[in-house]
Every structure is written in C-alpha cells, then in structure tokens.
C-alpha cells in the first residue's frame, strides 16, 4: 500500500495546506509614526519578532486601514541605518569619524555645554525640532531653559495654512479641520498630494464616490487623489488665490452668499474706520467698552456683540467723531466685485478657462444653496437661542502644501477661508468642520514669549516662544526693532512667523546675524539635506570655520535621530533615538492631536519591542538633561528630578495648566474625568487597554457650529480646550494685519525699518488678495519660464523611508516629470536627461514625459535623492546617482531688490516658498554621463552601523519547517 500511495502521490501530488496557522503570540496596539497621520496600529508578534502590522479597526483616525508606509514598519525596524550608540565626533564635521560613548558621558557632555549657556546668555542655545510631534514637550523645555530660539519645522512646512486659519477661524486646514465627509456634496481640494490626514482622506474619498458627491481636485499634477477626482483642474502653481477670489467674484455677482450666516457668526457687519492717514484707519470702530460697532438700518450705531441686532451690510456710517466707517462686507464686495477678479481676467494667469471658473462657481452655489441640507438636531447658540435644526450648505474645501509653500500662501489660504465663510460652510453640516481641540478664539493667543525683557540668565520664559502676534507690540525684537530670535521670526522680516523659521537658523547662525550662537540642538531635522534650501551651501556653513579662531562658526551641534541621516555626520554629539516601536510617546491635544470633529481624542505609543542597541527615547533624554540642568519645570523645589520615570512619567504627571496634561483621557484619581482632572497614575494602563487611544464623543447637539454653540463652548471649557465659553467670531477681516500695516505706513511707536515699510504696508492686507509669487516676479520669466514643484509620494514620507528595504524598491530614484507637449517642443524623448536651472543653480536630472501636468510645470517626487554615505546604503545606490533634490535650485534669499535680499518666503509668516521655484530646461550634450549633478562628496558615517545583508530573508519566528534545504 505504501508503494502505491507513493506512486499516486507522485503522479497526483496534493498539498495539505494549513489554513489556520498560528499568527502571533501577542498583539500590541500602538500608534504608527511613518507620517503625521498617526493611525492606530496593531503589531502582531511571533516568537519575539514582528509578524505583521495592521490597522486598528476601532481607531478613530484610520478605522482599520493602513498605508504602504505603515505596512512596511517591519523594514523600518530592521533597517541597518539605525544608530546604535551615542557618539562624540573626533574627526572633522562630515568625516563620520566618531567615538562611541556611553550615555553617562553623552548626557554629561550635553549638560556641560548647555549649563554655561543658560547661566550667561540662554539665547545662545538654538533648539529646533523637525519631527515635531513632541512640540508640547520640546517647546516647554525651551521655555524652561529660557531661550527664545525654538521652533519645530512648521515654518518651512505649513505655517501659512495654520496662521491664515487661526487668525480667521480659530482653526485651520491640515489635520486641524476636515470636510464633513458624511454630508458634503461638493468637495474642492487645493494643492493636496498624499499628505497629512492621509488615510482618513482616502477613506472619505471612497465614501464620497459611493454617495455620488462631486470631488474636484485643483492641483498642477494629476496623480493620486487627483487621478480619481471627478474633475481635475491643472492650475498653474501659485495662482490658486486668484482662482478662488474669482469664484468669490462670481458668487458675489450672483448674490450666492449666506447672509444669515455672515450676520450670526462673522464680523461681516463690523464697521471699519475709513480715515486715510489716521493712526486707526482700517481698524474696527469700537464703543467705549471696546466692542466693535455695526450700522443699524436707522443709521445709528450699535454693538456688534449684541444678539439680534439688525445691521447693514453696505452703507456709510458716521462715527461719533464724524469720521466715516463702512461695514467689512462692503469692503469685501467692493474689492472682489472688481472686474479684475472676473473669470476672463484671471483665466490666462491661472491656466483655467474662464468658462470653467464660471461653471465651478455655479456648481458650488448650486450645491450650497439649492442643495442645502438640514439635520433634525436641536441646538442652542451662544446667545441662548434654540434652533430646531442644523442647517448646512454641503460644500467643502481642503487644502495643503500646494497652497502653503508659496510666498503668497497666507493670503491665498485667507482667500480659501473667505470663500468658505461666504458660503456659510464653516462647521456647518456638509461643510468644513473643526477638529478638536479647535475652534480656538480668533484672533488666537497666546503671544510668543522670548522678548528681550523676558530672556535672562537662569530665568525661564513665561510661556512657549511661539505664538500669534496681534500688533507690533507683540513682536520679538530689540529696542532698535531688529530681530531678537536667531531665525528672525516675529521680527519685521516675518511678523506672524507662528511656527518659527527653522530653515533660516543655520544661515543666520553662520553669519552671526543677528548674533552668533553657541549650540545648535536639533531633533530629527535633516537640515544638511532635504530640509534645507540651498543644500550644498547649508552643508558648507555647517563646516565653515572662523579663520581667526579656527573654530566652527556654529561652535557646537547636538543632534538626535534614529537613523544615520545626512545630518548625523555634522553633529558633534549624537544622541541616538529609538524607533517608534520601542518607545512611549503621546499624541497630545496640546500638540498635533488626532482629534476629530466629533470630539477630542488623543493617543499614545507603547513600547512593542525592546531596543537591541544602546539607544534611548529622545524625550527621556531631554527630560533627563532638563533635570540635570535644574530647569524649573523638570525639577522639584528640592532640586530632585520631577519626572524620574522619564517620558511616561511626564506624560502622566505633567500639568500644563491645573488639571490639564498631555493626555486628556482617564484623568482624575479614578480615571473618571475627560479633558481636565488630576493626574491618574494608571492613565497609561487605561490607554493601553483601550488600544492606545482615547476618544470622547460629543453629544449630537454639540457637533456643529462649535464656534457659536453654547453647549459645546461650555464643554470645551470644562475639558480645558479653551478658557472662556465665549463665541468665536469668524474674522472675514483680520484686524491684527491692519495694525501691522499701519506701522508700515508710519503710524505708532514701533515701526519697521525703511527697507521693510512698503512691504509691510502692501502685504499685511486685512482682506485677502492675490499677488504674483516673489521669485516669479523678480526673475526674468522668459529665461525661467517653468514652475518646478515636488510632491510627496504615497509610499514615502520626506526622507524617512529610503532605509526601508521594501519601500526603496518601489521608489529608489526619482525623475523630473515634464508635460509631454512641452517636452516634445523642447525635443525631448521619453526618458532623456536634462539640465534644470534656476536663478540660483543648476542640476542634471533624468526626465519622464507625462500628460497629466500643467503645461508650464515640471515636478518630481519629494526627498528621494540621498547623499552618498548616508542611510547605510551601498555606494552606487540609485538614491545617490539617479535620485535628486530640487533643493539645490532653491535659495533662502530672493534676487536682490534695491540692494536688499529679502527671504524667499511669505512676507507675513516667513513660510519657506519652496513652490515658487522657476526653472528652465536645457538638454544635456551628447555623451554626457547619466548621473545626477551636483554629486556631493560622500559624507562620512559612523563606523558602528550594522552590516548590510546581501539577501534579506525576513521571517518572524522559527517554527516554519525548512523546505528541503
């Protein structure tokens, strides 16, 4: 029988497949860290190794899905680029020559360097973080140290969005607000590639498709979301503001404006002083109590804060002193009804046909007014009036980097908000909703700490050195009006630089302008590569020495990172961080939270694996250093460490305000409080038991009109989200901007320098307007006829993934994408190499022709190119020889204008204007090598990195029967 069955098996083999194999011995929830989406994940472990990472179905952000990056976490953990030991530089910066040291020595060194700075001149410490999901801690630490020189990376990322939103609505795009996915009928997205809030957007777009809602994507490039949009508008970069204001023009003309909404929730009726040359021209007319005035039909004036007062939209008011004032709405209508904003007038500039603009305005109006929706949910407004339903106009907008990264980004984003407000869609059903902890008051607080009066040896700052200036008094400048911060944020260079200007730090420190610093302390910020404009120069500045003293111009650099990025070799002291699977962490309401429109939420990370090398979570290290330095917030009155348990101890026990700490869930001794409550020693256990997140569901009656919803406002106070249960009035007209403008016009005691007067007077317009981006305006547009952009691909997040063995197979190098018709006219074949030049530099790159891109635009994937020697990749890897950065073409400074070089940035916020880049294409000569140029010299790397395997055979656990080896 045995023989026969063998024969049978030979001719008819069958396989018994184990259909119920053991998957894992243990499942741990935590939060992903591949991008700023912060999806909830479940990490399955088998025999101590990661078997599988999947999305957590119960998590409010991603509801069980995960993206390519999250699903590749295994390879992020397995990367041989991981740093393994603290390092002390022994060779020249960039040589990679380090001495491996113990943590004791590393911490002692850091303290040895930082202590004297604190004791003599705290601002000589510049502390800037790239991976800024610990801003609440790092900003607090900087304030305790007493240095004004702190920011995260928002200044070169998204501050235009944040600031425009906060001053207008007390909320913003990005991940602080989202369309009402369940109810919206018409969504228009601007400048969105794969980006923050990525998985929720994907889930939502699928839902829109199911419901038959229309999705229009305004983006120069047609990939990703734009590929599946119902309509793709291939706009010319930097002109979105003009397009949007043209839509506003059409809506005003057709009277498709929600007058009711404007009256109840905005400052549309507030009177604006019209008295040219007066020091309060353009400010609101206010009564003695300081309340803004409105014009009643009778012609008399009344307080604009009183409920029920009928006010005029248009009309001349006579102020008590006889001067004239007009309602905000009149200024809005006058400006945007101007024929200069008509579709015909803007079509050529935007690259969108006038008929299309007109049609989109019509569709938008139709969806908003004819498609008005009503939810049968009674609610009470700020004045105590009960409404039986929640009425909404189901048109929503979403916008990202494509709007922000321009020198006109702030005003463009303001234009978007204006459009939303005129349609009555802010926090209305079907419109755009605040995500918790927003809305905050508009204009927002606090003001930035770190003014000269507040900085002194050994003294902590009274608050975080970032904030929202409301007038020149709030600027962080010295007695002569010169910048006081090393990045010149909150100076006349960039008055509302709410997120700081990290991209200016190295250049200013090198120049010693406004002053030299002693130590540059950075966390996860690849300033020596893709996070810098003008990369080669930035690298030079890091290694430049003072010819007299022989010291580096930036004397000391302390850097923390998980992987061997291009920046590591330039640090003098390297503090290696853990991976996201090896640490405690919190995604806090005080920081960049994961809150939803339906209620606040926050989450944690818990260690899933123990590190297999001598690394420590950066936050633990920072707290330890803080304690050793004796920073008040980090030591008890007796001088003992306040958080001896490190970051998890801080997370649970730190109170930023009484009862308000990093995590809002399960506060109070028994874990019975939400938002505000005493520290709960078991708080983290609750989180872990709940899948590492906390979510509070607001009652139905509090879900919309939060800015004017009495019950919500009271809840928000109880939970510590806002301080007072006052209505937040949406600011069509942003008065703080006018205060700065008045200074630009010569009014007041704090005036900008002559070189800045006209600029301040021009751009600090309290109503949005469009202007040509600066670089475009200053270069010869004939010589540099094309726009150049980058986009983030869906499977890589900035420079965080080339060390990932799976993801780099998908995208190991990038190409410059060129419109096919444009390419043909230049004589390009499908994959030729070209020289790409800007006013600042030139690079040699491979191209690819494509159809779906604006005909005046070239683009590439963001941050794929790497520098030879970094990331523990073999020399000869495609990232080094075929991958390239556009950064080499971008300068921090604009071409000089009247002798002064202004920053290549938004004049209001200082946001780095990456996407203003203008270029030309020239074909390479016959026979030129097909390697990218410039090719920076190989950067050194620490000796102790892991060996790169030639074959990766990842398999979790060893219970698999080896197949006939």
């Amino acid at each position: 029988m045995n023989f026969i069955s063998h024969v049978r098996d030979y001719f008819s083999p069958s396989e018994i497949v184990d259909t119920s194999p053991r998957i894992s011995d243990e499942v741990k929830c935590t939060t992903c860290y591949m991008c700023a989406c912060r999806c909830g994940i479940k990490v399955h472990l088998r025999d101590g190794a990661i078997r599988y990472i999947e999305g957590n179905r119960d998590h409010p952000v991603n509801r069980g899905v995960i993206c390519a990056k999250g699903a590749s976490g295994i390879m992020q953990q397995a990367s041989p680029a991981k740093l393994k030991q603290p390092l002390r530089r022994v060779g020249e910066r960039g040589s990679g020559e380090f001495r491996e040291i113990e943590w004791d020595e590393a911490l002692a060194t850091a303290v040895e360097w930082l202590s004297p700075i604190r004791a003599t001149d705290p601002k000589k410490l510049a502390f800037f973080t790239g991976r800024d999901q610990s801003q609440s801690l790092t900003g607090y630490w900087a304030a305790q140290f007493g240095t004004p020189n702190f920011a995260a990376h928002g200044g070169f990322c998204s501050v235009n969005m944040a600031a425009a939103g906060m001053y207008t609505l007390g909320g913003s795009f990005w991940e602080f607000g989202e369309p009402d996915w369940a109810h919206t009928r018409f969504l228009m997205m601007f400048g969105v590639a794969e980006d923050h809030d990525s998985n929720p957007i994907k889930i939502a777009l699928s839902g829109l498709r199911q419901r038959g809602a229309k999705f229009v994507s305004v983006n120069p490039v047609r990939t990703g979301y734009s590929a599946i949009a119902d309509e793709w508008i291939g706009i010319r970069p930097g002109t979105d503001g003009l397009f949007v204001l043209s839509l506003v023009h059409e809506l005003l003309k057709a009277e498709k404006v929600d007058v009711d909404y404007l009256g109840r929730y905005t400052n549309a009726a507030w009177l604006v002083v019209q008295s040219p040359d007066a020091p309060d021209d353009g400010l609101f007319a206010r009564d003695e109590a300081g309340a803004p005035l409105v014009l009643e039909p009778s012609g008399s004036l009344a307080s604009g804060m009183t409920a029920g007062v009928a006010a005029r939209l248009v009309g001349d008011a006579a102020l008590p002193d006889g001067r004239r004032a007009v309602p905000v709405f009149q200024l809005v209508a006058e400006r945007y009804l101007d024929p200069g904003y008509a579709p015909e007038a803007v079509a050529d500039t935007c690259g969108i046909p006038a008929a299309t603009i007109r049609r989109l305005a019509t569709e938008m109006a139709d969806a908003a007014f004819e498609g008005e929706i009503e939810l049968a949910v009674p609610w009470t407004d700020w004045a105590g009036r009960r409404h039986e339903t929640m009425r909404g106009r189901p048109v929503s907008l979403h916008a990202m980097r494509g709007i922000s990264a321009h020198s006109n980004g702030f005003q463009t984003c303001r234009a978007l908000h204006l459009l939303q407000i005129l349609l009555g869609t802010i926090d209305a059903p079907g419109g755009w909703r605040y995500k918790s902890p927003h809305p905050k008051p508009a204009p927002p607080g606090p003001k930035p700490a770190g003014t000269p009066q507040q900085v002194a040896p050994g003294k902590p700052l009274p608050g975080i050195p970032l904030g929202y200036p409301l007038s020149p008094e709030d600027l962080v400048i010295d007695a002569e009006g010169k910048p006081f911060r090393i990045d010149k944020a909150f100076s006349w260079d960039a008055p509302i630089a709410a997120h700081g200007m990290m991209h200016m730090v190295i250049q200013n420190a090198w120049k010693g302008d406004p002053y030299p610093i002693d130590t540059l302390f950075m966390y996860m910020a690849n300033m020596a590569w893709n996070s810098a404009m003008n990369t080669a120069e930035t690298v030079r500045m890091l290694t430049d020495k003072d010819p007299v003293s022989g010291d580096y111009r930036i004397p000391r650099i302390v850097y923390s990172d998980t992987y061997n990025s291009e920046m590591v070799a330039y640090a003098d002291l390297v503090l290696p961080d853990t991976t996201y699977l090896e640490r405690w962490d919190c995604i806090s309401l005080l920081d960049r939270p994961i809150g939803s429109p339906d209620g606040p939420a926050d989450s944690i990370r818990q260690p899933v694996l123990a590190p297999d090398r001598d690394v420590r979570p950066f936050q633990d290290v920072l707290i330890e250093i803080g304690a050793r330095l004796g920073l008040p917030g980090f030591v008890t009155p007796d001088g003992e460490p306040r958080y001896p348990g490190g970051y998890p101890d801080y997370i649970v026990n730190h109170e930023r305000r009484p009862g308000v700490g990093p995590l809002a869930g399960w506060r109070g001794a028994e874990g019975e409080n939400a938002g505000r409550g005493a520290p709960n020693p078991h708080q983290l256990e609750h989180y872990v038991a709940n899948g590492c997140f906390w979510k509070h569901e607001l009652p139905e009656a509090q879900l919309y009109f939060k800015h004017a919803n009495k019950a919500y406002l009271e809840t928000a106070v109880t939970m510590g989200l806002i301080d007072k249960p006052e209505a937040i009035v949406l600011q069509l007209y942003v008065e703080p901007l006018q205060r700065f403008r008045l200074a630009g016009q010569g009014h007041g005691s704090i005036l900008p320098p002559e070189t800045h007067r006209e600029r301040i007077a021009t751009y600090f317009d309290p109503l949005p307007f469009w202007y040509m981006p600066f670089e475009e305006a200053r270069i010869d547009r004939g010589t540099f006829p094309l726009h150049a952009l980058t986009q983030r691909p869906m499977q890589m997040y900035h420079s965080w993934h080339s060390q990932n063995a799976w993801l780099r197979q998908i995208l190991g190098n990038n190409r410059l994408f060129v419109n096919r018709a444009l390419g043909r006219s230049l004589g390009l074949e499908e994959e030729d190499w070209v020289w790409l030049s800007s006013h600042h530099g030139r690079i040699r790159v491979p191209t690819k022709l494509m159809d779906g891109v604006n005909s005046n635009t070239v683009w590439t994937w963001n941050a794929i190119g790497k520098r030879t020697g970094a990331w523990n990749l073999e020399p000869g890897s495609p990232e080094f020889r075929k991958g390239f950065l556009l950064n080499h073409l971008i300068s921090e400074l604009l071409p000089p204008d009247g002798g002064y070089s202004h920053a290549n940035a938004d004049p209001i916020t200082g946001q780095a204007a990456w996407y203003d880049l203008r270029v030309r294409i020239d074909r390479v000569a016959q026979g030129e090598t097909e390697i990218i140029a410039p090719l920076l010299k190989t950067v050194g790397h620490p000796a102790g990195l892991s060996r790169r395997p030639g074959i990766l055979r990842y398999f979790a656990g060893r219970d698999r029967e080896e197949v006939g080896q």
Partner: protein
C-alpha cells in the same frame, strides 16, 4: 525573454542529438548508413551525448535540480513533462538498438524495429520540445504555427550535418546523406526566414489596452512602474534587444547556420574524401555557432505580454 545559455545549449544540443538519433534509428535499419558497429557506436554515442548533455544542461536552469526527477509526473497536461518522459523513453529502445548494433553487429529484424521505435520517440521528443514554446499563449513569437516546424527543421538540419560528418569517417564519398543534408539546410533556412518575417510583421492581439481594460480615452502609456529597479518579471521576461543589434545577429546566424553549411555541404557532396570530411566538419562547427545565435535570438526577440504592463505598446 531572457536568453539563458543553459536553455540555449539544451535546445540546440538535444535538438541535434534527438534528430541524429532519429536518423540513425531510421537510416540504419533501412541500410542507408554504414553498417559497421564502430560507426554505430560512434554515431549513437555522439547522439546520446548531445541529447543527454542537452537535457543535463537544462537541469542547470532549474531552481532545484535535485528534484528534477519529479518532472516526469505531469505528462497528462504538461509539454515539459511529456518531453521529459519521452526523452527518457527514447533511451530505452535506443539502448536496445545500440546493443544490437554495436555488440551484435546487426541493424535488422528486432534490432531494427527498436531503432525505428527510437526514431519515432526521438521525433516525438523534439515535437514536445517545440510545443513547450509553441503552447505559451503570452508569447506571440512562440505561439504560432512556425515554431514547431522550425524546431523540426533546425533539429533535423543539425542532425543531418553531424551525420554527414560522421558518415564520411566511414564512407568517404557519400551521396544520399549530403544531398539530403543540403536540401534540409535549405528547407530549414527557408523556414527560419519565414519565421523571422512572421515575427517582424505581426504582433499579438493583446495590447496595453486589453491588458488594462483601459483605452476608451486614448492610448495607454505607462506612467510609473511598480518599482524603480528591476524585478523578476523584467529580468526574466522583459529582455530587450536593440533593432540594429538583432538584425546584425540575424545576419551572422544566417551566414553561420545556413549559408556556410549549405555551401560546405555542397562542396563536400561534390568532392568527398578528406576534403569532404573537412568541409563537413566545418559545416557542423559553423552551424553550431549559427544555431546558438539563432536560438539566442529566438529568446531575445520573444516578447511577453507582461511587458504590456511595463511600457510596451505591443508584443
């Protein structure tokens, strides 16, 4: 398709070997060949070495050559399995035939019958080899009615050329063999030219449009490959050879596999003797070179439908 030398050697060598075997198995019983057992031994040895050597070479192409014995089991559905089974079966009557001829000095009767069986099985083996390729629908340059006849023609041609050379070592002035050889070379040449014309002028029905269900809005073009580097599919099935290069190789193959052997065979037919032996020998060498190039091209010029997903507009 990626031209693997182990496979190229396999098909050319075993094509020649099995064809030669068939010729011996038919020719000897019909008394068309030298009857001596030394001839029988030598010729059969050459045939078996070529056939078996080719087969062994093909095993090197395998990921798990130690399991090659399993390849005989699925003859019900697989041409590769059939080829394996038949090739092994061929050796059985061949062995009997060889024993009979070499040890007993006879090629008639039962021994002859074994020879004819061997010839039949050898022919069937070549057929199976051709069908391995011809049965593959995704490769238009293989899935057509020229491929199997070409395998036969080229196999037969190489068999005849070897036979012609070997025969001359025993019979210095042959007529029939070289004449047939000459005709077969011409026939094979014609067959190959028609094949090349066929693949130059036709494409598969499959297009990038049918591969993707797209195309209502216009031509389908690859925008981004799934990987920026290569992958197994491209390495194995994405091989491309530039037009100039392939035309040049065809010219060399034409010359080496057909023109020179035809000429040399004809000269051998005319003059015979030692000179004929040399020309026949040179013809074999030239044909071997030419056939390796021809077979290399057979792979290199073959396009697989998977390339439609990687930017090919047609296959």
């Amino acid at each position: 398709m990626h031209p693997a030398f182990s496979i190229i050697f396999f098909t050319t060598a075993s094509g020649a070997g099995f064809a030669l075997l068939a010729l011996l198995g038919l020719g000897a019983p019909l008394a068309l060949l030298p009857a001596s057992s030394s001839f029988g031994f030598t010729a059969l040895a050459v045939a078996i070495v070529l056939a078996a050597g080719g087969l062994a070479s093909s095993a090197f192409h395998l990921g798990r050559p130690e399991r090659a014995w399993r390849a005989f089991s699925q003859w019900r559905s697989s041409w590769l399995s059939r080829e394996g089974v038949l090739s092994v079966l061929t050796f059985l009557p061949t062995a009997a035939f060889g024993v009979g001829w070499v040890l007993f000095g006879t090629t008639g009767g039962l021994v002859g019958l074994c020879g004819i069986f061997a010839a039949g099985l050898a022919t069937a083996t070549i057929y199976c080899t051709g069908m391995i390729y011809a049965s593959l629908k995704p490769i238009h340059q293989w899935h057509n009615s020229w491929v199997v006849p070409n395998y036969f023609a080229l196999g037969l041609m190489s068999g005849f050329l070897v036979l012609d050379f070997l025969v001359r070592l025993w019979a210095p002035h042959p007529i029939g063999v070289p004449l047939l050889t000459f005709l077969v070379v011409l026939a094979a040449w014609w067959s190959k030219e028609r094949y090349w014309r066929f693949i130059d002028t036709t494409s598969a029905r499959s297009t990038a449009e049918s591969a993707t269900l797209l195309g209502t809005r216009g031509k389908v073009r690859l925008f981004e490959s799934p990987h920026t580097e290569e992958n197994y599919l491209l390495k194995e099935m994405g091989f491309r050879v530039a037009r100039q290069h392939r035309l040049r190789l065809r010219r060399i193959a034409r010359l080496a596999a057909f023109v020179l052997p035809a000429l040399l065979t004809f000269l051998g037919l005319l003059f015979g003797g030692g000179f004929g032996g040399i020309t026949a020998g040179l013809a074999v060498v030239s044909a071997a070179l030419g056939l390796v190039i021809e077979r290399w091209l057979f792979f290199a010029e073959a396009k697989h439908t998977v390339t439609l997903y990687y930017g090919a507009e047609a296959v």
